[in-house]
């Protein structure tokens, strides 16, 4: 009996991560999350469940929020990935990051990178959300500490900031 897994060997995958092109050579079973964390050292996205229930691994793939634990790296070949590490402009925080900081939109912070990426995706498609729309848009991200009221406040505040910035 062969005890190592069967299947094709490692394959080449090219990703653009936070604006930089990277080539990785990984087995097809590898998730985007494991490549980000283990190959690229981007540990902002977290594995909270590994099966698409909690949202702690949320990143943007071609502008859409995806669960990186439910996305195979090979599916992303040629794709553009944005993670929490790529949001700030030098020392200047992204408005969503700034709003989470100011409105205390977290407690332990473990789900925060995923919450922030989900909020960025939400505000890109819906720049002036109502509170209900924020709740709908953030419903795929669990916060076990229960910082939800402040998460809602953070996303609303971030929307204001981004509109002012654009104006």
């Amino acid at each position: 009996m062969s005890i190592t897994s069967q299947g094709p060997g490692p394959v080449d995958v090219t990703l653009t991560v936070n604006g930089r092109s990277v080539d990785v050579h990984v087995e097809p079973r590898r998730t985007l999350l494991s490549v980000l964390r283990e190959e690229l050292g981007l540990t902002g996205a977290k594995e909270g469940c590994g099966e698409g229930n909690c949202g702690a691994c949320t990143v943007l793939l071609d502008g859409h929020a995806v669960y990186a634990c439910m996305t195979l790296a090979v599916e992303c070949d040629g794709g553009e990935i944005r993670t929490v590490e790529g949001l700030a402009d030098g020392e200047e925080l992204h408005p969503v990051q700034g709003a989470f900081l100011e409105h205390d939109g977290y407690q332990c912070g473990f789900c925060t990178p995923g919450q922030i990426m989900a909020a960025v995706a939400l505000l890109e498609r819906c720049p002036s959300p109502t509170e209900d729309e924020v709740r709908q848009g953030m419903a795929g991200n669990l916060c076990r500490c229960g910082a939800y009221p402040n998460i809602t406040a953070s996303v609303i505040a971030a929307a204001d900031r981004m509109r002012q910035k654009d104006a």
């Binding site: 005890i3 590490e85 977290y106 473990f110």
Partner: protein, 773 residues
């Protein structure tokens, strides 16, 4: 000179007298005239930037060059005997460094008196083997390559079946599932006399579920040996407890173990000590000579990571016609798992909330085939308050009183258990403020909702400790550039400990918040501090930080006096404010704090501080009240928590922003326990059907009610020198009780079993409709 003193310290509902070494804190409590600029301000968290940029380092992010991945093979049976383990040789598994199991055990084979790989596995998820591989894939493949033969044994899952006559033993040879048949009991007054005086009585039974902590960061560890020195990165609430456990298990001195935890992805009580995974990683690292990381996967966390024990409770209350309580009896049984202990303080609220002369309680721990029941945010008190405060509502209806008036009538003026006065108690004010904010007294005037929805209102009270106490120590250093480093052996588990301790240090020194850095979660950097649990962190460590910083300030003032040519003047002649040291009588004689530090030319000022004793003959408690509005759909059974008004008395509020967030979190976890959380176990297989975050329902943002938070914010100068009490646990305590009371109000039937899922609610509605009127 430190002296040995006795002091009473409360932890999770149990008061113990400790002999402890105390020093004078050297600081007096802040008075009304204290000039506090950072304390009391809603300051954003000091480590917030790390959190929002993804830079915050959690244990699962720790990754050293050459680090190996450990995984645990776990029992798929609730109860079985391991008859054979067939593991391939390491040569057959490329990239696999080590496999341990029963027949091939690690050099240390027990942890806290139990085998690491026992022949009898007594819960789904019990450890059967350990593999250590080059990477995640190698470890996964190795797990699959191990074949284990089991002889399934009879099992018992629920409390009721574990307690039934002739029940299967959860653990072979224990002679019964009740861990402490004699119970943890309490008695005051005379029950017989109490019942003689009772004109009205209530007798109700309650059940609450096994509720998984479900921290988003599961239990995790990275162990690394450097020669004889072991460093353990552990996702924990208490680095010192982990150090003690690891050193004892390995049989080595504590100074050879360093425990580090920078950020913790949630704990809620589940991460108070080292676990079996911790010891396995430490042993595997020593064996392989490489760093070894072991993190539980979600499923493992949900079956082996701990849970709030389910409870069965019976409450009997007797009262005079006017609602005056004359006696309460409260018996509780807790589902502690296969290897659990004798249970938590479920009856604590019954003993201490109301002025009732005759009270008898008992708590018994019960074994069943699950992992170990653990402390989960206000262990026992949440469940006990649900039972007691539900019973109070039924009593209110029987004596024809409003629930709030009944509680006001029976409010205890002094601690009913010890007979001692409180350092402070704002419960009556909390009731009044909450009632006003929610519109309690006008609630019946609001038109009912339309369609199948019914509105209900409920309230409940909260009592808890939170006074903290010694031992807790801190070291402060003034660095050559005027920066201040404060080292404290506690943890910031998301409560904002770093931030509030920074605020305290900044005000004591009269410097800005950005000049202060608080280091937590490192046994090597900091002196001993308590585990961040039991709402004790701030009230224990806060005064220690003040004292340590004050000790530094005394030295800085001494230097400043010399630099200012005022050598003869004592410390009290000077004050520190806005980053300057100045002479009180002539504020023009001043020198910037930073300049003093710079001119000391590398000399580091170090100050030690420790928490003084608790006041003698006084009880330190936190209090609060929640008022809840719910809507219940009588066709579907769905419950919507619409609004929660929370008023808490926790002494001084150091940071209103993070404090309100704590209350939000407690309430939302309380909503979870009330409406949706609970492990579901298949009686036929004994396996958990909810062992992930889809099956196990934790609240989402959509389940969040409108939450209105108030604090009395009255500094408690008798409690400790910062006037603050704990807030971690209080806000979850009254929520399930208040919600259950509101649901009962909405549907006109008393609910007694949590969680109030639609199915459960429909059951109450149906039984109510079938009741002969």
């Amino acid at each position: 000179m430190p002296e040995i003193r006795k002091t009473e310290v409360e932890f999770e509902g149990r008061v113990e007298e400790r002999e402890t070494i105390v020093e004078s804190e050297g600081v007096l409590p802040w008075g009304d005239d204290a000039r506090l600029t950072e304390v009391g301000r809603p300051v954003p968290r000091v480590a917030g930037k790390a959190r929002v940029t993804g830079q915050a380092l959690y244990t699962v992010d720790v990754d050293f060059p050459g680090q190996l991945v450990a995984r645990v093979l776990r029992s798929p049976h609730p109860h079985a005997r391991v008859t054979a383990v067939d593991a391939p040789s390491l040569e057959a598994l490329p990239g696999v460094h080590l496999i341990w199991h029963r027949d091939q055990p690690p050099p240390v084979s027990t942890f806290k008196g139990r085998e690491l790989f026992p022949a009898e596995v007594a819960y789904e998820g019990a450890e059967v083997a350990l593999v250590v591989a080059r990477d995640e894939r190698g470890a996964e493949d190795a797990l699959r390559a191990i074949e284990v033969s089991y002889e399934p044994l009879p099992f018992v899952t629920g409390l009721e079946s574990a307690l039934s006559k002739g029940a299967q033993e959860a653990l072979c040879g224990t002679g019964g599932n009740v861990i402490n048949p004699e119970g943890r009991t309490y008695l005051r007054g005379n029950l017989e006399r109490g019942w003689e005086r009772a004109a009205v009585s209530v007798d109700l039974s309650f059940e609450t579920p096994n509720a998984s902590h479900s921290p988003l960061e599961p239990h995790a560890v990275v162990a690394r040996w450097e020669g004889e020195q072991l460093t353990v990165w552990e996702s924990t609430q208490g680095v010192f407890s982990v150090r003690q456990d690891v050193a004892e298990a390995l049989g080595i001195a504590q100074d050879r173990v360093r425990v580090v935890c920078d950020f913790v992805g949630g704990g809620f009580g589940a991460k108070q000590r080292a676990g079996r995974h911790t010891l396995l990683a430490a042993l595997a690292s020593r064996e392989t000579g490489r760093p070894v990381g072991l993190r539980l996967r979600r499923r493992e966390e949900q079956v082996a990571g701990g849970y709030r024990p389910a409870s069965m409770q019976r409450v009997r209350v007797g009262a005079a016609e006017d609602g005056t309580l004359v006696c309460i009896e409260h018996d509780a049984w807790e589902h502690m798992g296969a290897h659990g202990h004798r249970g938590y303080a479920v009856t604590g609220p019954t003993e201490s909330l109301y002025a009732c002369p005759n009270v008898r309680t008992s708590v018994r721990g019960v074994r069943a085939n699950s992992d170990r029941g653990r402390a989960f945010r206000a262990p026992g008190y949440v469940e006990g308050t649900f039972a007691l405060e539900s019973s109070m509502d039924v009593l209110a209806a029987k004596v024809g009183m409003d629930p709030l008036e009944l509680r006001l009538k029976n409010c205890a003026a002094e601690d009913p258990v010890s007979g001692e006065p409180y350092t402070s108690k704002g419960l009556k004010e909390a009731y009044e403020i909450g009632a006003r904010l929610v519109g309690w007294r006008d609630r019946r005037g609001i038109p009912p909702p339309r369609g199948p929805w019914r509105r209900g209102w409920g309230m409940a009270s909260q009592v808890w400790g939170g006074g903290g106490g010694p031992p807790a120590n801190a070291v402060a250093k003034i660095l050559p550039d005027g920066g201040v480093e404060v080292l404290v052996g506690v943890q910031d588990i998301g409560t904002g400990t770093r931030t509030v301790l920074s605020q305290i240090a900044a005000d004591e020194l009269g410097v800005g918040l950005d000049a202060v850095r608080v280091v937590v979660g490192n046994t090597e950097a900091a002196p001993y501090g308590p585990t961040s649990a039991g709402s004790q962190t701030l009230a224990s460590a806060g005064p220690a930080v003040r004292a340590a910083v004050r000790a530094c300030l005394g030295q800085v003032i001494g230097m400043a006096a010399q630099m200012l040519g005022k050598d003869g003047r004592g410390e009290e002649a000077f004050d520190a404010r806005d980053g300057e040291i100045f002479l009180r009588e002539d504020p023009e004689v001043r020198i910037p704090f930073r300049e003093v530090a710079e001119r000391m030319d590398g000399y580091t000022v170090v100050g030690n501080g420790s928490r003084g004793p608790n006041p003698q003959g006084r009880r330190i408690n936190t209090f609060g009240a929640h008022f809840v509005e719910v809507n219940v759909n009588v066709e579907t059974g769905q419950v919507r928590a619409v609004k929660v008004v929370a008023v808490h008395d926790v002494g001084r509020v150091i940071n209103p922003l993070t404090a309100a967030n704590q209350v939000h979190g407690g309430i939302i976890q309380g909503v979870g326990l009330s409406l949706m959380e609970g492990r579901v176990v298949d009686d036929q297989t004994g396996l958990q059907l909810t062992a992930n975050l889809e099956g196990y329902k934790v609240p989402t943002i959509m389940d969040t009610p409108q939450i209105d938070v108030s604090f009395l914010n009255r500094p408690d100068a008798e409690a400790n020198s910062v006037g603050a009490k704990g807030l971690g646990e209080p806000p979850i305590i009254p929520t399930p009780a208040a919600l259950a009371n509101a649901v009962s109000d909405a549907i006109g039937a008393r609910v007694t079993h949590l969680p109030l899922t639609p199915r459960e609610v429909l059951g109450y509605l149906q039984r109510e409709s079938e009741r002969p009127s």
